[in-house]
């Protein structure tokens, strides 16, 4: 099976190595496929999580009394171990994308809702009073002033949620949704290092890339924060 590798340098690289480059070379297609799956699972979770969190945050902001129950509920979801959550959901929703996303979305809610509400609450009272005094309608003020000023705090939440989600997606392979977790599972089942290392390393790289992307997005969205004082 093992192709005889000519040359001294590569002679020791084989199936038992920490990472077997030849295997990597032979499985680029699969690695790419897993990457696409991983990104899809992550993006869906973040988009849906952001949408659900926005609704929850708006409710919490409009009806202050709901804030504690909402964050309490999101906190309980956050505290459930992911494996247990999937185990609990599978009998209901099956080994499906839905099951995976329910879990992934659940874990984004706490951090997103809290940062959204904190961001809006952090808008200086004087800025609000000035905006009202200028003749903003309440909704227009919320969109043009409050939400804009809350952006740095909200993006900070999205960054944490994104990095967490990228890591969590590796677990969804257990219910057959692919992603880097599938590589890791494959390696574990065969006591074969290379797919484990590749899956873990790429998951970390993806998390870092997503984080960088969001930092860039934040810079674009908040030019005033950089202008700073002179």
């Amino acid at each position: 099976m093992t192709p005889a590798v000519p040359g001294v340098l590569l002679a020791e690289n084989g199936p038992d190595s920490f990472i077997w480059w030849a295997w990597v070379g032979d499985h680029l297609d699969e690695i790419w496929e897993r990457t696409v799956q991983h990104v899809q699972l992550t993006v869906i979770a973040l988009v849906v999580g952001f949408a659900v969190s926005t609704v929850l945050a708006l409710i919490a902001l409009r009806f202050r009394r709901t804030y504690t129950p909402i964050t309490g509920f999101a906190g309980v979801l956050y505290a459930i171990p992911s494996l247990a959550l999937f185990a609990f959901l599978v009998p209901i929703t099956g080994l499906s994308l839905l099951t995976a996303e329910i879990g992934l979305v659940s874990y984004t809610l706490l951090i997103l809702v809290r940062n959204m509400v904190a961001g809006i609450d952090g808008v200086p009272a004087a800025v609000r009073e000035a905006a009202d005094g200028m003749g903003y309608t309440p909704w227009r003020r919320f969109v043009a002033v409050d939400a804009r000023l809350a952006t740095p705090t909200i993006v900070a939440g999205v960054r944490i949620a994104a990095v967490t989600t990228v890591g969590l997606v590796t677990v969804t392979a257990l219910i057959g949704q692919g992603g880097y977790g599938a590589l890791i599972n494959d390696g574990l089942s065969r006591s074969f290092n290379t797919p484990i290392v590749v899956g873990a390393a790429l998951s970390i790289l993806l998390a870092m890339a997503v984080d960088l992307l969001l930092v860039g997005a934040e810079r674009l969205l908040t030019p005033w924060a950089r202008a700073g004082r002179r």
Partner: protein, 400 residues
């Protein structure tokens, strides 16, 4: 159409049903209202839910068109509450408020507010918008065209004394004084007839404050806005106000009049106490040298004979004489030095040290007089021509 009754009761959304379709009445046009009041408060009361007594209790007040009215009083006197009821940031419990002849509750809040400039102590600039965009806030809300907005922004920057280079910066790059100028420019952007200012200068240091106050006074001479300015600083009220409303705790109006009236004849002990010490000096800050009958002083021309100087000194009872060449003031000579001189101009001269202009306040003139060696201040016009001599006696006369 509006209830004219002064006693409570006329509260709630009564105006909604009857004769008032949603016509956004512009407050700019002169109204056929009963008086030249731009803002009229009638028996306005504000009782906050948890408070034992009302913050403002049946306050009636008329603010003249084009005048700056200062609401001044101790904390808790309801002056800010009163101001915020005018643009409905706070809704009165009862009573009526008219701006430009229109009851404020007869129009949607946001439309009312777009016709009323608003400046607050903490300024409240939008940190995420450049200075130019901050100034353009209300014009944007009103849907002005971009080119119009740009021209207006540049014009305003000039009017409030803001360097145009600052227009593209974010507020965080500006000093406190600059930010407050932006705040004023933003309030004036859509050229509202009415400007409300809530302690606009209490957060800046005294030197900047004095500058900003002078700027506002100058701006008001050009623009003639109807301004309501809330302050706890009675000197600021005296300096800027055409009229002062002195409020006591609970929004009781203790006295309403021009600064000179209030200083000359305080209505009661509260007003007297609030005006503080040195009421006379404060009055002096309101009178200019031009209003004082000047003395000629012991003056002679440089080519006059010493005898003429002796006569002038004797007439004024002093031992020095001022020397003129036509209208030009050369200085003064000591009586003892005149003896040997052929002409007054030959005697050694000392320059005067205290000069005032007709526009100088007599308070400042007094300061000059006290500090001068001769106990007089020389009054010169803007071309430095000699107008006369000012002494403490002249000032005392002017105050009577």
């Amino acid at each position: 159409m509006q209830s004219q009754q002064t006693v409570g009761g006329a509260d709630g959304p009564v105006g909604a049903d009857a004769a008032t379709p949603a016509v956004p009445a512009t407050a700019t046009q002169p109204t056929a209202g009963p008086a030249e009041a731009a803002i009229r408060l009638v028996a306005v009361t504000k009782a906050f839910p948890q408070a034992t007594s009302p913050a403002v209790d049946r306050l009636s007040l008329e603010v003249g068109r084009g005048e700056l009215t200062a609401l001044v009083g101790p904390s808790g006197c309801g002056k800010s509450t009163t101001l915020k009821m005018i643009n409905r940031l706070i809704e009165p419990t009862s009573g009526t408020i008219e701006v430009g002849g229109v009851e404020v509750r007869d129009q949607p809040r946001h439309e009312l507010r777009r016709q009323i400039g608003y400046v607050i102590q903490q300024i409240g600039l939008f940190p995420h918008r450049t200075v130019a965009d901050n100034i353009a806030t209300v014009p944007r809300l009103l849907g002005w065209r971009k080119a119009t907005i740009r021209a207006r922004t540049a014009e305003l920057a000039g009017q409030v004394g803001l360097d145009r280079d600052l227009l593209d910066r974010y507020p965080s790059a500006l000093s406190g004084g600059q930010q407050q100028r932006v705040g004023v420019a933003r309030a004036l952007a859509a050229d509202p007839p009415v400007l409300l200012m809530d302690e606009p200068y209490s957060a800046v240091d005294p030197i900047v404050r004095a500058h900003l106050q002078d700027d506002l006074a100058r701006l008001q001479q050009e623009l003639h806005k109807t301004i309501v300015l809330v302050t706890h600083d009675v000197d600021e009220a005296i300096k800027l106000g055409d009229r002062i409303a002195l409020l006591n705790v609970g929004g009781h109006l203790e006295q309403f009049g021009t600064p000179a009236e209030v200083l000359r004849a305080p209505a009661n002990e509260f007003v007297e106490r609030f005006l503080g010490r040195e009421r006379g000096l404060k009055r002096m800050a309101l009178i200019t040298v031009a209003e004082v009958p000047l003395g000629g002083g012991p003056m002679v021309q440089a080519d006059a004979a010493p005898a003429e100087a002796e006569a002038a000194m004797a007439a004024e009872g002093v031992d020095w004489v001022g020397v003129l060449a036509g209208d030009e003031l050369l200085g003064w000579a000591d009586g003892a030095d005149l003896a040997g001189a052929a002409r007054v101009g030959d005697a050694p001269r000392t320059p005067f040290r205290a000069f005032v202009r007709p526009g100088t306040t007599i308070r400042e003139a007094l300061d000059n007089i006290v500090n001068s060696r001769t106990r007089v201040a020389v009054v010169l016009d803007d071309d430095d021509r000699y107008l006369g001599m000012l002494t403490v006696d002249h000032l005392a006369e002017a105050l009577e």
